[in-house]
Subunit: 317 residues, 2 copies
């Protein structure tokens, strides 16, 4: 598959940061930046720009804040065409400082939001758009939104300056037919907007669903090295590269970072397909219960977890 | 998704046996048989019926041979509606003894073949069909067969008594569109035959492709617990159950076998998504080179492996 418009975004540091409180060594982030540059990846996301009032620095590493100076120091001296993106949560960010784009190493600001917070996302989007940044809005958890509300949000977004709106399968619940349905809905309600795709791997469908979205026209595609990300993790970037076959791609630098950094890292922090995440995915639930149980001594008591989560759901109905 | 005609086959012991030379404890096989019985799975495959002249007993466990007496001893006393299947390789089996079906614990014989050996497969199929067994023919490695030869084989199979013919993605190479294409081709050339699907997980597409085949009409579906199988492994049975939502299914017994037996087993033998298998999948190659390198001290030298395998392919062309 090759379509020139398709752009690939590496979200290793951002999604990976969710499992280590955004502590990555400078050496690793710099090696990754060099690798994605050599590999022909289009964007690299560094993490979140969170407010220090909301997220106290005692608890988080540098990639929770993504200060311009920090990013500049990391990428200094590395030849690269990679654009830098950072993410901001629409629903929990206080007033943030953003320099004009030409005074910042950042090229793109991605705004994560729930449907209920879409107005906050739009306000923030207009602000950073006026400062010259590329913008995306990533509507999370759409597998549990009602369609009326989602469509209302899409219709609003159609009238904003945002360039890209993401289909995000936060819970790893969707199958191909639902991905097709969502991409089509986004296209119909936001003609001319680029569609992005961000998938989680709870049911081992992260890569498959990314491919399905690409086939239907999604042109901004997220992946992380070796699928690193919270819980079951994300769509693996190396598989996206294998599928896309863009002649500018070179997989070798990516493989080298995986072998040199990610394999040792996987001994320290865990991600990838595991039964508790499969269960929350199948049941269209946030993985938080699975994340909690993986930190207890009962982390492999799958049958008990399955029974517990189902009784909770039955009570909720 | 629910369609009454869909039947699920557990291939844990058979595909898992490929990574431990078919040594599984009687306790595990018996616990699995009880679990799949309680879970509502339709078939359980015990392993291969190989000739002892070809596969010397000093090198393999019991599930390389699947003697009737051995199977009978394992399942004795367990209440079950599960049908038992065994696999025979058409291309390397000597004359085998098969009792008439009503004197054997086996219900179904699955014949694995390459396109080139389809005449051997047909001869064997007719023989065991006459003894009363259900039969399937599983054409392996079709992602590297030329279509003319494959169609010729399908046209031959259309005229045989075989009930089910399998689409087998041996190398984990196919994407959804190719699965759709193959299922349609099988249906067109063998009207009235049941289509089976057996997928490998090299590119994390084992489950996704199984679902795609089901959507197009495949009605005999293979999966293994926790995806156990050679290399990247197979489509996980627990995910199939989550997708199919057949009211007779109960996932809990399956989860219990995974937690009690498979998690400890995974410490001893390895399977699942790994970069070398992703590379052979992307390149449509047999995983044997990846299996070999995973047994060396360089098992995590992915970049070097990628370079080596690509230079081999370039020379071969």
């Amino acid at each position: 598959m090759y379509r020139e418009e398709i752009k690939v975004l590496d979200c290793t540091i951002r999604d990976g940061g969710l499992i280590n409180n955004h502590y990555f060594t400078d050496e690793f982030v710099r090696a990754l930046y060099k690798a994605v540059s050599d590999a022909g990846v289009d964007y690299m996301e560094m993490g979140y720009r969170s407010s220090r009032q909301v997220a106290p620095p005692a608890e988080y590493g540098a990639w929770k804040y993504c200060d311009d100076d920090k990013i500049s120091a990391i990428i200094d001296g590395i030849e690269s065409d990679v654009k830098i993106s950072i993410m901001v949560d629409a629903h929990r960010v206080l007033e943030q400082e953003f320099k004009p784009v030409d005074e910042s190493p950042v090229d793109m600001i991605r705004i994560a939001t729930y449907v209920k917070d879409v107005d906050k996302a739009i306000t923030l989007c207009e602000k950073v758009h006026d400062l010259g940044y590329e913008t995306t809005i990533n509507i999370m958890a759409i597998s549990r939104e009602n369609e009326f509300d989602l469509i209302e949000a899409l219709d609003q977004l159609a009238k904003t300056p945002v360039e890209t709106v993401y289909v995000v399968d936060s819970f790893g619940y969707f199958f191909s037919e639902q991905i097709h349905y969502m991409v089509k809905m986004y296209q119909e309600h936001m003609p001319g907007k680029r569609i992005g795709i961000h998938c989680h791997n709870n049911q081992q469908l992260g890569f498959a669903n990314t491919v399905e979205a690409i086939r239907k026209g999604a042109n901004l595609v997220d992946g992380s090295l070796y699928g690193i990300g919270r819980g079951a993790g994300n769509c693996p970037l190396e598989l996206i590269m294998g599928f896309l076959k863009n002649p500018k791609f070179d997989m070798e630098p990516i493989l080298r970072v995986i072998q040199d950094y990610m394999i040792p890292m996987r001994e320290e922090i865990e991600w990838g397909y595991m039964i508790p995440y499969a269960i929350t995915g199948i049941l269209n639930q946030h993985p938080r219960a699975a994340i909690r149980m993986r930190k207890t001594k009962d982390k492999d008591k799958y049958a008990e977890f399955y029974n517990d989560i189902r009784s909770d759901l039955d009570v909720a109905d």
